[in-house]
Symmetry: D2
Subunit: 253 residues, 4 copies
Amino acid sequence: MIHPGELVQLVSPKGKRYLTTVDPERDFHTHDGRLSLEELCQKDFGETVSTHLGREYTIFKPTLYDLLKKIERRTQIIYPKDIGYILIKLGIRPGSTVLEAGSGSGSLTMALAWYVGTEGRVHSFEKRAEFYELCAKNLTRIGLSGQVVQYCQDIEGGFGITDMDAAFIDVRTPWDYLDQLAEAVRNGSPVGFLLPTTNQVSALLNGLGSAPFSDVEVLEILVRHYKPVSDRLRPDDRMVAHTGYLVFARCQK
Amino acid sequence: MIHPGELVQLVSPKGKRYLTTVDPERDFHTHDGRLSLEELCQKDFGETVSTHLGREYTIFKPTLYDLLKKIERRTQIIYPKDIGYILIKLGIRPGSTVLEAGSGSGSLTMALAWYVGTEGRVHSFEKRAEFYELCAKNLTRIGLSGQVVQYCQDIEGGFGITDMDAAFIDVRTPWDYLDQLAEAVRNGSPVGFLLPTTNQVSALLNGLGSAPFSDVEVLEILVRHYKPVSDRLRPDDRMVAHTGYLVFARCQK
Amino acid sequence: MIHPGELVQLVSPKGKRYLTTVDPERDFHTHDGRLSLEELCQKDFGETVSTHLGREYTIFKPTLYDLLKKIERRTQIIYPKDIGYILIKLGIRPGSTVLEAGSGSGSLTMALAWYVGTEGRVHSFEKRAEFYELCAKNLTRIGLSGQVVQYCQDIEGGFGITDMDAAFIDVRTPWDYLDQLAEAVRNGSPVGFLLPTTNQVSALLNGLGSAPFSDVEVLEILVRHYKPVSDRLRPDDRMVAHTGYLVFARCQK
Amino acid sequence: MIHPGELVQLVSPKGKRYLTTVDPERDFHTHDGRLSLEELCQKDFGETVSTHLGREYTIFKPTLYDLLKKIERRTQIIYPKDIGYILIKLGIRPGSTVLEAGSGSGSLTMALAWYVGTEGRVHSFEKRAEFYELCAKNLTRIGLSGQVVQYCQDIEGGFGITDMDAAFIDVRTPWDYLDQLAEAVRNGSPVGFLLPTTNQVSALLNGLGSAPFSDVEVLEILVRHYKPVSDRLRPDDRMVAHTGYLVFARCQK
């Protein structure tokens, strides 16, 4: 049975997705009519509920992917294709302590919090109050704020924390903070960066060359979707061609 | 300080990588000469040790990526680029119980075990004894066998387990096991498949159409590496162009 | 000086492109106001003309690329990225005689006619009168109809021509016409096919296996555009992910 | 019948390709034994000849693609995937006069000469005598030297020719020659560049910004081959991931 207060994903007959927290005293409004959230509490995941216009909506427990697709955003977010790879390259695991800068809308923050679990901790830095609050709101909504320590501060003066297991830096000029970064992580730790332009990648590579980092790797990830039709299988006509370049290195003090 | 029994990654001056378990009573042989593992126990991660020929090797704590690159393999393995996406799409998290078939060399098994943590459980099925044992060996080496229940059995008669949070199927004819799969997972659960050919994708899409699954997605992931040179930034000349197509769906009984 | 009757490309200050035939007695209407085509006749290519609202439009002589982008279309057209490769694989050159089926809107017809020149000939088949006429109209507009013989007929009964140097087949079920194709081309000639789905590629490969063809190749071509900004160089956010699969073979009777 | 002096492509039972000029007085040596070129003169394209060990080789008339694959090279050559697109963007056609710098091994020179035909002309500049001669040798071998005027000279002092219909520049620092280039082509003409690194693309974009050029486009082309197997259709495991970035512009004096 689905519980009041639980976060659920509702999928319309046409595949449109909604994310909502079950509040038995409220209705949920869709393009296909009204859904009673009270009725939802008598259902299990995988079952359907009807709108007052008789359209069947399927109820799913949201995966991390579903959550990432639906966070409220006011910045360019980091995509699942990149997040998955980042997790593995940084060696994130239940219990890890991870540094993040900047939080942005919180998509990577959410994923890091998800995987470090209740034993781990994400330290997330964001200079702009607007995004700091948006990130906090998104984390609270999905119940992950307990795993995250948020900081609304500039990182030029350093992070004020040490011994991080790993770090990910998503700011415009990461080469300005490499010494601060090296201080914050354990020796040997993996660190990652996301940069939209080739000029930034060049500048970062240049910076890493004279900072305590080694083992540098640059890459990009492309996802190509197909129309899921058995007898007319073909790629979608268009795809996302670029989100950003990923750079990874190891701290070597 | 690095402990005896710990798994470490050693990186040569030319970037060659080795994975080894620290046994203070043994030496480690590289292309650059012999390393004393006893000496290693007086070092920390991020530091270097010298071979008897004077070459400096850096010691890193292996991330999941490093481990996946170095597992002993006798099958086509699942790549980090695919694994990262699979984790997010399947909603794997600390505490999840996940079904996997077949284990193969155990690369995905390892990643699932890594992320479900000590509270979670991976149930991994493999029909061929040879791969069942290889997977066991790889899991033991990296200390993750406690999170995995391995089964050396054919899945045609079903899995004999239920209420799995998610499942990933990497067998040649997954369309033959869709009913068994639906029995094993909770209603609404995400499931995934990896298939090398377009013909298999078509056959699976056809099978999913008449089985208790919905919300089907087909995609492929490409990783493109760049030469990490600041003033001559460019992609590598060649890349891995194909590992397999990923298919995701939701069980809807 | 630009001549009356000449086809010109006009590029707006924002990069919007127009193709028009210079008729000194008419005006040309743009989003930025009216252009006098009479005034255009006192200009050379590379120069600009002003609309009555004072916006500067640059006049270029259209390249084949410009023409292909602007043909009137009522079908999926073949893209420049694919056409360029087709030309080279088929060995098209000034003087070649080439078979094409079906004409569609005429984008490939136009490119073939362009390259075979006045000494060559394109024989283009199209079963639907609507597209036959559209193709004729597009060829006439750009002055290439002299190099093309158009046929409005079904190809099941054969092409009724022989000794073609090369052939390109863009129909839904090309495997139904392989014998007819083999009759129409010289022995050893290169032939090509465009197919949107993997199922069609499989069916064609199957058909080629029992028809007089060898040396089969399957591929797809992707073009990725970049934002042309010197200090913020990066790929466009989105790209065309699929037009079709290209299949090439040699006739071997 | 195949003529003495004709250039032919021979394809082995395993798909290995050879390019040779038919000299009836010589034998041709393959991995499968000796072929009599005299016997070849009694055959037609599409037919086979036997080596003295009884292996059947098929005889094809080489397409431009076949020739490009087999030219003698001592430089990075321009690939068919890029050449096809260059031709269309530059508006090359029978009768065009085109400027090229530098010639390199002559792969693009060959393709330009092929398409401008006997009425057109390619002016190709190469500063290094070694490549100038290699290009000449490659052009002579395939019978296209009549359409090409070669220059062994530095281009810093200008090209010494004017009114070119189009130009393609494949040198390390093209931004150093933009004024010379603008003098050599007609106003409004399309020009193209090939550059391996993102730093060079940035430098060129910067240069074009203050030179008489407009309508700038940057792109790259990727070709992905598939295993041509009907019931196990899938991409090749590896692919060429990068040859170079293409930059196109229009001269606007």
